[in-house]
Every structure is written in structure tokens, then in C-alpha cells.
Symmetry: C2
Subunit: 177 residues, 2 copies
Amino acid sequence: MAQKNLLKYILIGLLENEKKTGYDLKKLFETEIGEFWSAKHSQIYLELKRLEEQGYIASETGLFGNKIEKTYYTVTEKGRRVLNEWEETPTGELPINKDEFILKLYFIHNKNDKRIKEMLSEQYRLHASKLFHLQERMKLLFKDEISRTKNYGHFLILDLAIRREQEYIGWIKQYLY
Amino acid sequence: MAQKNLLKYILIGLLENEKKTGYDLKKLFETEIGEFWSAKHSQIYLELKRLEEQGYIASETGLFGNKIEKTYYTVTEKGRRVLNEWEETPTGELPINKDEFILKLYFIHNKNDKRIKEMLSEQYRLHASKLFHLQERMKLLFKDEISRTKNYGHFLILDLAIRREQEYIGWIKQYLY
DNA sequence: GGATCCATGTAACACGTTACATGATTGA
DNA sequence: TCAATCATGTAACGTGTTACATGGATCC
């Protein structure tokens, strides 16, 4: 997955409909996007600079209070074009989900190993908590039909994420008891 | 996930019961481990050297044919210890599965966007093919109760992987038709 | 007055991929 | 003899994290 610079498209995509600062974008990674992507502010600010140099986004400096300068970014025509090109390109190749827990489990050979129950219990807690969080997001963002139609992609992937957690929890339960 | 050097534990873990060459390990990443982890030979060879320097594994050079030298690695006591420590440490923090398709979908807002069906169709093919492959592996590796008991962790994660693909496919079908 | 958030940046490092490189062995 | 596979390595680069760094604004 590395080497494709997908952060580029995320940033352009997030700026598509509304100008935002680097800090705004950073906050989005902590909430909205955080469920399926991550990036630190250090990486975001650098990438924004690079995207501006390459002409995919443009910046304007706004004033906040009377001293702090905020840099707002907007998408250029060129940026809009590459975003669309990317969206239309078949993705191909399923990604490998590197999951440390899965890895640990792989190296446990004996069915009666005491650690299995401990590990499954921990995962149960983590996934149950994530499931709850996702369900709350679903309620908050997509309570009516209109909101679903307007951000349909987001609705779809939230639905997938919830199903996935439910399945994961089902799997754990089967082997935990 | 990065910064934890999990490759280290994979290599030690794979060498635990049997001495292997770098090439053997590379091959395992193409088959067995490939379902849930990836690594290129360039990274493997370097990591093996580092692990030997740090005393986690030891090497012996064998001859193959009459000219080629193969380097076999085995795990040391120190290596066995860190592997066990790792296995006993709670994993914590669910990983973020960075999936390019999910990302693209997020940026599609309109329910009637033609691209949704195309994207879902492509994913259907990919996941159906992966599911088939996983099911074949399951049949091959775990046909009887005894094989399950001997590599129980592997059986568990293969079962999870299959359920996950089934769920994914179910999700696609729901919105594709 | 102090904590927390807003806002932006740089530097060092770790992880992972791609490309370059070499040469022997095996089987058709 | 030619292709594929076995077998091992290095170099350059791209991506992402951690740590370092600064200073204003807001709220209690």
C-alpha cells in the first residue's frame, strides 16, 4: 500500500467542497477519517506544502484574532482533475491487513494454550468498544434517508465497518466459550 | 503499526521449530503468511542480519550442490525469550486497515453515481476470488481434527479470514443489486 | 496564572518498496 | 540452450512516526 501516496487524494478530497486549514484536516483524521485512515499533523503539513508546489491546491492566508495566521487551502482545477482520475481508476489488489493480534495467534500452536482465552478476551473488549462507537456514528450521521443519499459512500463504508465488527465479535464468541 | 518492528517476531517465530534460509522465509511470505502479512526479500535478508547481530538468531552455512552457499538460521535462547515476551504482551490498540477502495468510496457523495456499481463489481470479483483461495487453504491444511489441534492459531485466523470475506461479499451484494 | 486547545512547523529515524545486481541449478 | 527458479545481497527512495519546537487564544 505504501508508495502510492494516497494521503494526497485524501487531502484533495477533503478540501474539495470547502477550504480548510492544516489543523482542520488534522482534526478530521482524529474523528471522521480516523475510522479508516490515519495521518499525523507533521505529515499533513508537509504534504499540503508539496501539493501546493505541484499546483493541486492553492492557499490563502487568513487572520485569526489579530496575530495568528491561518493558512486556508482550496483545490485547483488540476487538483480536481487528478482526484477524478484516481476515483475512476480501478483499485485492484486487495490490501493486506496487518493485524498484530492475528500474527500472535498464528504462532500459538497448541489448542489448550492458556493465552488464547486471554487474547480473545482482550480483543472482545476492543472490538465491542469499536462497534459501539461506530453505531453511535451511524446514528448521529445517518439517521434519515436524506443524509444517506447525500453522503452515500460514507454511509456504505460505515455500514461495512459495523458489519465487520459484528462478524469479528461473533468469531471471538464462538471460540471464547 | 509501523515502528514496532513486528517482522522481527515473525522471523523468529517462523524459525522456532526448524532452521530455514532467507529464501525459505521469503517463500513463506508468498504463501502461508501472505494472507495476513507481507515482506520483500530485501527486507527479510537485512532483518535476518540484524537479528543475528543482536543475538536472537544464529546462522550456519550449508552447501547446496557444490558451489552455492545457503545460510540457515536458527533461534537462540534469547530469541525464544523475546518471542515469548511478545506473545504474552497485550496487543492493545486496534490497527487501522488502510483500504484504497474504502477511501474512494468515502469521496463518492451521490447515491446515483455510476461509479459505485463499477467499484462494487470489481471488489466482488476480488473478494470472491480471495474467499475461494482461503477455503481451498482451509480444506488443504485443516481437513481433520488433529491438524486443527496442532496449529490451532493458524486454524482460528483462517476461519476468521473466511468469515470476513463472506461478510464483505454479503455487504457488496446488498448494495450491488 | 495555568491548563488546554489552536495553529504550524522541522528533524531524526524506522519501516517498506523498487530497482539494481549477481550467479548457480534445474528441467524442458 | 534457454527459461524459470534458487539464493543472496545493496542502494535509493518513499512513507509514516516520534520527538522537538514555538507561540497565541480561550476558559476556568
